[in-house]
């Protein structure tokens, strides 16, 4: 027995929610109105309308046509492989197999799962998986997207310079005078100018050499998120030489960033020159560094072709020019590797040394980057 259009739409919305779309009850009702307003089934028209109604950002906008076709036009789609998350979770496996029931309308769904529960479970599972062990392309993409979203949350932890408040130390004269007019010139409700916590000026230095290749897609998205969260951030990548890529990371299309970064990384077989690359930052981009504001985020496993003393010397010079150095190393997530494996000469100048191999470690890294300088945490 085939389902009614309303049930199909409700099921489609549920599928989209499982794919990370934030669709509320209001949008579902509007989607039903859209379907009912089209008694003659014009799929192209319905797709256009539902796309505007159910998408919330560019990422969803790009993914929507494929998801729509997969559900409403299953015959035109090849069977998709199960994601890593689905393989780990039997409930997700059932959901994945229920895809493609839009116009077919005969497949029975299993038990009705609460989408929030499934989503949280999936995220909790994925957040602890070492990125290099993920072989499923969809799961990798999902982790990369979440890493960028995590990094962008930095913006909520650090805020801008000043704002007008009802309490504070320094009176905002113009606002107070303007407000006093309603009280015949009496400043009954003075307004104050308060300093907001200072946003760190981020300088991201990412190692894209051969030894980091397994983590580069994840860390690239993470850096891109950090760069978009902080207004005056700068980004560099290095292998045996340094490249400034701030503008590249501002590119909207993540796949385009990856493609151009791959093109830039033709020399990756030549080794890793961390010390030399840091010296390049100090020589050629010194104006980007401020001892009071700059937080340098190094993303590297620390495997360097340069001498350890050179690395120590470069880090010491860099440390004098910046407020803090946060070093994120995916190698620290591996068994048997600890902070002590980074050369002593380098460790002496690093304020925070953290793993960066999965979502959980990146989440902690965001917290540490936003935090005021304090005791060393490694």
């Amino acid at each position: 027995m085939s389902d009614s259009p309303s049930r199909r739409v409700a099921r489609f919305v549920r599928e989209l929610r499982r794919d990370g779309f934030g669709i509320g009850a209001g949008e579902t009702l509007d989607a039903l109105r859209v379907i009912r307003a089209n008694p003659v089934l014009d799929v192209a028209r319905i797709r256009r309308r539902l796309r505007s109604l159910l998408c919330r950002d560019h990422a969803e906008w790009v993914r929507f046509p494929e998801l729509f076709d997969r559900y409403w036009l299953p015959a035109a789609q090849q069977e998709q492989p199960l994601s890593a998350a689905a393989r780990l979770d039997p409930r997700l496996r059932r959901q994945a197999r229920s895809v493609g029931t839009g116009l077919a309308g005969t497949a029975e769904l299993g038990e009705d799962l609460r989408s929030t529960g499934a989503g949280a479970g999936r995220q909790a599972t994925l957040s602890r998986i070492d990125y290099r062990f993920l072989t499923d392309a969809r799961a990798r993409r999902e982790i990369e997207r979440l890493a960028e979203r995590l990094a962008r949350s930095l913006r909520h932890r650090a805020s801008r310079r000043r704002r007008i408040e009802v309490r504070g130390r320094r009176i905002h004269l113009r606002k107070t005078l303007r407000g006093s007019l309603r009280h015949a010139g009496l400043p009954v409700h003075p307004r104050y100018l308060t300093r907001r916590p200072q946003t760190p000026r981020l300088v991201l230095i990412q190692d894209i050499s051969h030894s980091m290749a397994q983590y580069t897609p994840l860390l690239t998205r993470f850096c891109r998120g950090l760069l978009r969260a902080a207004r005056d951030a700068e980004a560099f990548v290095f292998h045996i030489e340094l490249h400034r890529i701030t503008e590249l990371y501002r590119e909207r299309d993540a796949d385009e960033v990856k493609r151009r970064l791959d093109g830039m990384n033709r020399l990756w077989l030549g080794g890793t020159r961390i010390a030399r690359s840091l010296s390049s930052v100090l020589c050629d981009h010194a104006e980007r560094l401020s001892p009071s504001r700059t937080v340098v985020v190094m993303l590297s496993d620390g495997f360097d072709s340069d001498d350890a003393d050179d690395l120590g010397d470069a880090l010491a010079r860099l440390r004098r020019r910046v407020r803090r150095i946060v070093w994120l190393s995916p190698a620290l997530g591996r068994e048997g590797i600890s902070a002590q494996d980074l050369p002593e000469q380098a460790r002496a100048h690093v304020d925070v040394l953290l793993p960066a191999h999965d979502l959980a470690s990146l989440s902690w890294a965001v917290t540490c980057i936003a935090r005021e300088p304090g005791a060393r945490s490694w």
Binding site: A37, R45, R48, R49, R51, S52, L53, H58, E60, E247
Partner: protein
């Protein structure tokens, strides 16, 4: 194609805006569901023009609120006309009216200075409200907008709640300078406006510059399309294409001038940053030029 989509497209075309099926469908949905529309896209792709065209196409008034950092309620919603209120108080000193009456008269709409958002909900006929570059405004202002966008009403403590006389058609634009809140996105329809295809851009140039030579229009558009494929900091938008085409027309050109050195003089219409000017060598311009003028 559906009749209503065609009708919206033709109405927009009459307003000088070339819209694809997707966009026309979205605008129909905006009118049907009376929900705000969030339009994202790079600078210069025609987001602001879309609102202007919709106002013309629906024969409504366009009310524009340009957002910026520090935008507050006084500038965006309303402000009491304090000097006029003080004057009224002075004039009423000898009045025999009761204190309540005098107070009511002072806090009446007569002394209210409506700003764009209040103007939009007090219009008798549905206007098009353009909230331009919402990503430039503070998060606090974005949160304030939520009440307006869901209930179309504004609360003024001294006066009460003012509801919309006719629901405005709201278009919000964003260049992606910062991430907008999920709450705001949930209240809006969404459309991502990308750079136009070659055919669409050619249609736009012809619509906006009807006197342009066909060959020049085609070469200009092909040149700009190739330019957008380069790794530029600021890719030229539609406005830049039109400016450049107009500049070439004003020089009496019927096709792109060669050699590249001659062309270079007008390229400031397209290339707006020093980095891009340095990056674009003469040899590169030659290559783009030969692609653009190839038959």
């Amino acid at each position: 194609m559906n009749d209503s989509t065609m009708s919206m497209q033709s109405r927009l075309a009459a307003a000088g805006y070339v819209a694809e099926d997707d966009l026309a469908s979205t605008l129909e949905l905006l009118l049907e569901l009376e929900r705000p529309l969030l339009v994202e896209g790079d600078a210069g792709v025609g987001k602001t023009e879309l609102a202007k065209a919709l106002a013309t196409a629906t024969d409504s008034r366009l009310i524009r609120l340009q957002c910026y950092e520090g935008l507050d309620v006084d500038t965006a919603v309303y402000e009491w006309n304090y000097p006029r209120q003080l004057l009224a108080i002075k004039l009423q000193e000898t009045s025999t009216d009761s204190l309540e009456d005098r107070e009511d008269s002072i806090f009446s709409e007569r002394y209210l200075l409506p700003r764009p958002l209040l103007l939009a909900i007090r219009e008798q006929r549905s206007p098009v409200l353009l909230i331009d570059e919402i990503d430039r405004a503070d998060e606090a202002f974005e949160a304030y907008l939520l009440e307006l966008l869901s209930d179309f009403q504004i609360s003024i403590p001294e006066l009460g709640t003012l509801s919309a006389r006719a629901l405005p058609r709201v278009i919000l634009t964003s260049n992606g300078m910062r991430e907008l809140s999920d709450a705001l996105r949930r209240r809006c329809l969404y459309y991502f406006l990308d750079y136009p295809s070659l055919d669409k851009e050619l249609d736009i140039v012809r619509a906006r510059l009807p006197d342009i030579d066909t060959r020049l229009a085609s070469q200009v558009v092909r040149f700009v399309q190739s330019l957008r494929e380069l790794d530029l900091r600021k890719k030229p938008g539609i406005a830049e294409t039109l400016d450049w085409a107009a500049a070439l027309m004003s020089q009496g050109a019927a096709s792109l001038p060669t050699p590249a050195a001659t062309l270079h003089r007008t390229l400031s219409c397209l290339i707006k940053t020093r980095d891009d000017q340095q990056r674009l060598q003469e040899s590169e311009i030659d290559r783009l030029l030969s692609r653009a003028i190839a038959p």
